[in-house]
Symmetry: C2
Subunit: 342 residues, 2 copies
């Protein structure tokens, strides 16, 4: 049977196999992804990110457990991505033993991704895995990633809802870094909230939120109230405006190891999804994600085509002249693109 059809039919073994193929960028994986693509777009993709040491894995496990035990249990996939180890393909997250409560539950699927993937960067590979899990019918995909840099941001952008996880007492430097990461956060989580310093961390986060969203009468977690204008054109304009779409990220304390704050966090996630669906934000995030994937693939295809068309010896000669500093990098590119080797 066709691997894509097996995955659509709920075969877990076929799913695991296909995820590996997609991660490795194999041609079977790519072929299956094309078949699966029309079946994607249903899952709620939730990014979970933040500095090391904040207990993201425990938080993700507890969220998954909560979603499984709710009145209308959701099928949950966990995708743990580690961009911090580009050489060893480090499996920091993967090595951790996942909660016993989740294992054996057919409504849960857990996957660690340690390698960089070959689909063109970690974000692209992660997106491919998320697409497979989406098509396989998981309602929620929790994408967990560690680090504090561009890779983390790229991965977080794959999600509809981004949780940024902090913990008390991680030091001033890490506090400072939050400034950048804050701008991708839809929900701020202070995990390990039973530890000393939680008030200071909360104050710091609220202070930064205040700077980012200087609206005095709105409390975190509350949506600003806006009313749609009557005319369709003005409605469209209002929907596009940043103001209408303003969502003040709530700050939620959790103690993931004991499940503390998890129901409240799950409620915030629900509210954020409802908010996105209500104002068109869901579609806009999907469109932005698909466009960046398209641009990424296009880039790869252009380079592959150029490589096929250019004799390797010509490239080597130009590179040699560059290394000898007879050509600057810009002159080298010009030589390569002008095609005088034809």
């Amino acid at each position: 049977m066709d691997p894509a059809q097996e995955v659509l039919g709920g075969n877990r073994l076929a799913l695991a196999r296909l995820l590996t193929q997609v991660e490795n960028g194999s041609s079977q994986g790519l072929a299956a992804l094309q078949v699966l693509f029309p079946h994607t777009g249903r899952a709620h993709r939730i990014g979970v990110t933040g500095p090391p040491g904040t207990g993201k894995s425990s938080l993700v496990n507890q969220l998954a457990l909560h979603l499984r035990r709710s009145e209308s249990p959701r099928r949950v996939a966990i995708l743990a991505v580690d961009p911090t180890s580009p050489f060893t393909g480090g499996a920091i997250l993967g090595d951790r033993v996942r909660m016993r409560d989740l294992s054996g539950d057919p409504g849960v699927f857990i996957r660690s991704m340690a390698s960089r993937g070959s689909l063109g960067g970690l974000a692209a590979a992660t997106s491919g895995l998320a697409a497979v899990l989406d098509a396989a019918g998981f309602d929620v995909i929790l994408i967990e990633t560690v680090g504090a840099g561009q890779a983390e941001v790229d991965i977080a952008r794959l999600a509809h809802t981004v949780l940024v996880v902090e913990a008390p007492g991680l030091g001033d430097d890490i506090q400072a870094i939050k400034a950048g990461i804050l701008e991708i956060a839809d929900i701020l989580v202070i995990n390990k909230a039973d530890q000393p310093g939680v008030e200071a961390t909360e104050r710091a986060l609220l202070g930064m939120l205040q700077l980012a969203h200087p609206t005095p009468h709105v409390f975190p977690g509350e949506r600003k109230q806006h009313h749609l204008p009557d005319s369709p054109a003005m409605q469209a304009a209002a929907l596009e405006s940043a103001q209408f779409n303003d969502w003040i990220p709530p700050v939620q304390r959790t103690v993931a190891t004991e499940g503390g704050g998890i129901p409240e966090l799950a409620a915030h996630i629900e509210q954020h999804a409802a908010h996105l669906r209500a104002n068109g934000g869901w579609e806009r995030r999907e469109a932005a994600r698909l466009q960046s994937e398209l641009d990424e693939l296009l880039q790869q295809a252009l380079i592959a085509r150029w490589r096929r068309e250019t004799p390797e010896a010509h490239y080597d000669t130009v590179l040699e002249r560059l290394t000898q500093r007879q050509l600057s990098p810009w002159q080298a590119v010009k030589e390569l693109l002008e095609g005088d080797w034809l």
Copy 2:
């Protein structure tokens, strides 16, 4: 006078102005870079990286001071790059007040780079600034970068010598992350070595080194002894082999705030440069860096050319069909590249 000539002539104001132009990717900046390029390749580029909170800035300042006060003082440039804040263009490093001892010294030039640059990523922009400083005659360029991810690795790769800075007591998670970053380290620094936990950090680093370089009779900081074979062909092969080039990264404790361990660290840096020069590693690192810059520029040029040649409306139509899931991303790329809109 031509900006590039002014920079070659030692005009600091022209240097500062050109660095801004190169960082912004302006056409004047690019034109000057082309003039300066043949004058590059002399400076020792030293990357300094590691997690936040390890005191990298103090360490860089003290190293610069040491190099200025040595018997044959070197001209030192400091390039502080912050890849962790892609949105705000955060100036974590830039905001810090640099040591009073360095200010006013004409043999020192300090530059913070907070924006992402538009030369195609932070690494490319950093490389452009380093090239200008190299051409301007600085003997040593200290490239300081914070974070723990791909951006950091890309930036570290611009250097001949990479220092990875750690500090005692940064927690288990951060310890684990070292596994990846270790593979780019030429020298390991334990800064803040007067703090508790320094022995544990040192043990952990030595343990990881032992795993990475399982050669029992070589101590960190010592080069493995190899003798070149007689035949030129075999010499070339030996030079290419990883074994000959093996350099066991030394582990150096420092207390940068008080200057402790800085002379020893500077000696390790000298030894590493001598090691690279002795076995052709210097040229290989230069060639690898220039090739990756060439590939990066080539990629950008290919995309720019494709954009010029493709009607925007065609792209928009394909994107719309992708968003509607009528096309998969791969089918969309195929439509865009087949040029049936011609």
